[in-house]
Amino acid sequence: MWSFLNTGSSFVWDSLRDFAGSTGIAGLFASMGWGNVAMICVAFLLLYLAIKHKFEPLLLLTIAFGMLLTNLPDANLYHTELFEGGHVHWDIFVANAGLLDYLYLGVKLGIYPCLIFVGVGAMTDFGPLIANPKSFLLGAAAQIGIFVTFLGAFALGFTPDQAGSIGIIGGADGPTAIYLTSMLSPELLGPIAVAAYSYMALVPVIQPPIMRALTTKKERAIKMQTLRPVSKLERIIFPIAIAVIIALLLPSATPLVGCLMLGNLMKECGVVDRLSKTVQNELMNIVVIFLGLTVGATATAEAFLNFRTLGILVLGVIAFGLGTAGGVLLAKFMNLFVKEGNKINPLIGSAGVSAVPMAARVSQIEGQKENPSNFLLMHAMGPNVAGVVGSAVAAGILLSFLG
């Protein structure tokens, strides 16, 4: 009897000790460093910003939760070693992969950003751009920030492909930034995605001081001519023509631009309403969840907590600012060559940095501060959607040089 109790007590004790050793609390003390604790705090901060202040909540919330999951001890959801060296280690993948590793394949293979672009295309009205094609130029000028930051990042010691990924933050287009970074420098995916989406949420804070500094009161009060109506046929031909032209000129930009135009064609043709609604809502929402979670999961302590991240955050805001300035300055320059009645309000130039439709709204708000009867929103939507095409083109060019 005594020996039975003795053996039983040691068995129970061993079992409980093994169980305690397998819990996350034990892992917290055994394997987790200060870095993981700091990353969990960063995840909490991002969750707070997303929920309380509604900073791009759709993506920031999922990114923050992915960050939280990947930094919790022994969760085994994401393994950086499976993607080491910039490619998938298929030989050990199935034996070791966790849930987020499987989902991350969509980022790694460039699937999610393209699917998001299908949804973005279905939600975008290219009418203002078709009515005023000169808006493409403002969209191009706003990409200057990308290339100046590309050089700035190189000066700070980043490699050329890392510099390209950091520069693309200036395009203010999350899917494009994630697509290019996953191709060129996947090790920077976490910090770049967080920087891109944080700055996109901060567009109303970052842009107005630059816009006001570069324009006069008179320029900000310019009223623009009403845009011409755009026929349905033009709206249908536009996405087909752009997809074909971009594919012929710049094949590396085709995945992004092609998907964007596919979504737009679904919306404009009017015969596949079900598909259009699906890509705008269900597909988009599902992909956003997968993309946010997996991009957040790449933000491990080793990848995030270093001076490189600080450099990326600083360079990102510089890229954003330069892009804004580029668009405004080109609009001012274009005004030198047009007659009095056809002047462009330079405030719409800042909308060339993508960030649809936030940047266009900022142009509208700033314009109305000078002249409450001035409605710039539709005029600003032209450069805004041109910026989406422009940043995808810039990403394609960088990919063809650096990929």
């Binding site: 078709i130 190189f154 023509a241 032209i245």
Partner: protein, 111 residues
């Protein structure tokens, strides 16, 4: 033949940045030209909808007269009700005053 990207120096970086921004502009300028071409074609297409004749511009006094007439016409309009009254439902909340059990004489229970 391009050197490996890892060996790039400032010269390669500057050229890449310069060529890239030029390419962005060239591609988008090309799109501007093509879209303007489309615009010209579509704005000259004969419209299927019947063309309405342009009305001559109205004189300011005529506009004022029309506006005054509209104002006077609208100021004389009144809200017209349907004049049909229908009791849709009656809500009878409980009260001892309308309770049947309190209204009837309680008969003694004889056994």
């Amino acid at each position: 033949m391009l050197s490996a990207i890892t060996d790039w120096g400032w010269s390669e970086m500057l050229w890449t940045a310069l060529i890239s921004i030029c390419l962005v502009f060239i591609v988008l300028v090309l799109l501007v030209l093509i879209m303007q071409g489309f615009g010209v074609v579509f704005s000259h297409r004969p419209s299927k909808t019947p063309v309405t004749e342009k009305q001559p511009l109205l004189h300011e006094e005529e506009i004022a007269a029309i506006a005054t007439a509209l104002k006077m016409f609208r100021s004389e309009l009144h809200d017209r009700e349907s004049e049909v009254l229908t009791i849709m439902s009656i809500k009878r909340s409980y009260s001892p005053w309308n309770s049947k059990i309190h209204g009837l004489t309680q008969m003694p229970d004889r056994k």
